[in-house]
């Protein structure tokens, strides 16, 4: 009987047609910013945001801070945040050659995708305030880091308060 089984396996082999998955490339693909997107598409370097550390330091020195803070699950700007943003707006108006990327962050107590939305909400609140202070909207962009970039690593209220923030990053 086992002989029969063996013959049967060979005789009744049915190749499954829809199984053309191939072995993956042996090497890790190149870094994503060298990807296959051709020049001129939206992932071209022309839309990338490049940081300017010296100018960033100047913003912090002149405006007092590049960061404003928020309450839990909040995106409203308190008096201190408004004062900081007003000083940032004066610096941006005095430095016309650069742009601001307003980067919103959330603490770790929200779920990943909600926090991405929350970070955008915070970045937008800061951006709108800067625009109201006279900074041209075309010089400002927003991005959200959600909970991906904490500055304080604890799991406590003090750390969370530092992480609920919007940072004005000077870019070219």
């Amino acid at each position: 009987m086992n002989k029969t089984v063996l013959i049967g396996i060979s005789a009744l082999a049915l190749a499954v047609s829809a199984c053309g998955r191939k072995e993956p490339p042996a090497e890790v693909p190149p870094p994503v910013d060298q990807s296959a997107n051709p020049p001129g598409t939206a992932t071209d370097d022309s839309v990338d945001l490049v940081e300017l550390p010296a100018m960033q330091a100047d913003l912090v020195a002149k405006a007092g801070s590049d960061t404003v803070y928020f309450g839990t699950d909040e995106s409203s700007l308190d008096a201190q945040a408004q004062a900081t943003l007003a000083a940032q707006a004066r610096w941006l108006l005095a430095n016309q050659s650069v742009r601001g990327s307003i980067e919103g962050h959330a603490d770790e107590r929200g779920t990943r995708e909600y926090n991405l939305a929350l970070g955008e909400r915070r970045a937008n609140a800061a951006k709108e305030f800067l625009i109201a202070q006279g900074v041209p909207a075309g010089r400002l962009t927003t991005i959200s880091w959600g909970k991906e970039r904490p500055v304080a690593v604890g799991s406590n209220e003090e750390a969370w308060a530092q992480n609920r923030r919007a940072v004005t990053v000077v870019v070219k």
Partner: protein
């Protein structure tokens, strides 16, 4: 780059008749946690008495797979005797009864010319009869897949559920400290083998999700400091921006037919849900309520989309028709609810529940009833279904360190099982069944 082919072979004795036989040997996966069934998995002989190593390795993979289901206690291959090639399809039941087994997975391996054939048999030891048989032919290097198929045969026949063991997992591999974490997309077999990285870690990446055929991923990347959704071909590594331009897009998932991708786009402090053809085109807006509408997930028939929204003032689960009509809230259990994912069986929606300072994984019916929480830790989030709708994978974050680890839990209860990743992991996506 050889094609990976699993040929399904019909073994000559009427396997279909055996498979349709609803005998007494069934594990109950509906009625809660049962005592696991003892299944003997001895080392398999080789046809012609050749190399025995692969037959033992295959039995080890089968035993490991069966253990991970939580329904079986495998016996062997270590510590029990093997059997002869002649006994592969004609077992000495008394031997396995005395070993304490209720069922037996046996078979044999035939290896010729770089191809490996696994003949897989399942027996009811107590009743002394065959329950199922199937042959699997693979490239010899892919012997693990033949083992997974054999384990799926046994699992499926004994549990009455669809197979899920021959699957992959894609996730975000995490290394480095909490404030400088490196995140790379990684892919592995669902038992942790064949692990490799798909991105290099220069740009932060989030939420990779399989296409319904498992050949593509959709995910979010911060490359160029612009967070946006990309589609990647798993085989070639080629990637493509989903929505041209600099719009902030995130939370992507494929539709069940793979032809569309539903995602969130945020602008001006407002996040809405859009859908776009997976090969490009103009996104169509599905929601417009003020607030954060995100984490969309299609129903398996493609007719509805579950999502979360804070339009009521707190994060809650909603369901809408595929065109955005008839948006209605389904979560009313107190606390907040996030990241819904519709079961591939359609009968449940898995979610993250936020309350009491913790995140827990739970399931409820798509109409909102029958909520059950499956986990209890500080922070469990991001559920992803096994293709048979019986298990949910998620990631658990440790308070303080922020280190994240993948776990899988049965929807029927029991302790979550830690997934074997070489580094920390988050945002898992369980693949469809390999073909």
């Amino acid at each position: 780059m050889k094609p990976l082919i699993v040929a399904l072979l019909t073994l000559p004795i009427a396997a279909t008749a055996a498979a349709q036989d609803t005998g007494p040997l069934e594990v109950d996966v509906v009625g809660g946690i049962q005592a696991p069934m003892a299944v003997a998995v001895p080392a398999m002989p080789s046809a012609g008495g050749g190399d025995l190593a692969v037959g033992r390795q295959i039995a080890e993979v089968i035993a490991s797979d069966l253990r991970t289901t939580g329904l079986f206690t495998p016996i062997g291959p270590g510590g029990i005797a093997g059997y002869s090639y002649a006994q592969a399809s004609n077992p000495v039941y008394a031997t396995w009864r005395s070993a304490g087994a209720a069922a037996l997975v046996s078979g044999y391996v035939e290896n010729n010319g770089g191809r490996l054939t696994l003949a897989c048999y399942l027996f009811d030891v107590t009743a002394g009869r065959e329950l199922a048989r199937q042959g699997f032919a693979v490239n010899a290097n892919d012997w693990r897949r033949a083992a997974h198929k054999c384990a799926d045969l046994a699992y499926s026949r004994l549990s009455g559920e669809q197979p899920f063991l021959d699957t992959k997992v894609v996730y975000v591999a995490e290394t480095g400290p909490k404030n400088a974490r490196v995140k790379r997309i990684a892919i592995m077999d669902s038992d942790g083998s064949n692990h490799r990285y798909l991105t290099a870690g220069k740009a932060t990446v989030l939420t990779p999700r399989f296409s319904p055929r498992g050949d593509k991923l959709v995910y979010m990347s911060y490359q160029g400091r612009r967070p946006r959704v990309y589609v990647m071909d798993v085989v070639t590594g080629q990637e493509r921006l989903l929505v041209p331009g600099t719009a902030f897009t995130f939370a992507p998932r494929f539709s069940p037919d793979g032809r569309q991708i539903v995602f969130s786009m945020a602008s001006g402090g407002n996040t809405d849900i859009y859908v776009v053809n997976s090969d490009g085109g103009t996104p169509r807006r599905l929601t417009s309520a003020p607030g954060a509408d995100t984490s969309p997930s299609f129903s398996p028939d493609g007719n509805q989309i579950a999502f979360e929204s804070d339009r009521s003032g707190s994060q809650q689960l909603y369901v809408m028709n595929y065109d955005g009509s008839n948006q209605r809230r389904i979560s009313f259990g107190g606390g907040q609810y996030a990241s819904p994912m519709w079961s591939p069986r359609g009968d449940l929606v898995a979610f993250t529940k936020i309350g009491g300072g913790a995140f827990r994984i739970g399931v409820m019916g798509p109409g909102g009833g029958g909520e059950r929480l499956l986990t209890n830790a500080w922070q469990d989030e991001g559920p992803s279904w096994a293709p048979n709708g019986q298990f949910v994978m998620f990631h658990r974050t440790t308070q303080g360190s922020g280190n994240a680890t993948l776990y899988a839990v049965s929807i029927n209860g029991g302790a979550p099982r830690r997934m074997p990743t070489p580094v920390g992991g988050s945002d898992p996506s369980w693949s469809p069944l390999n073909n």
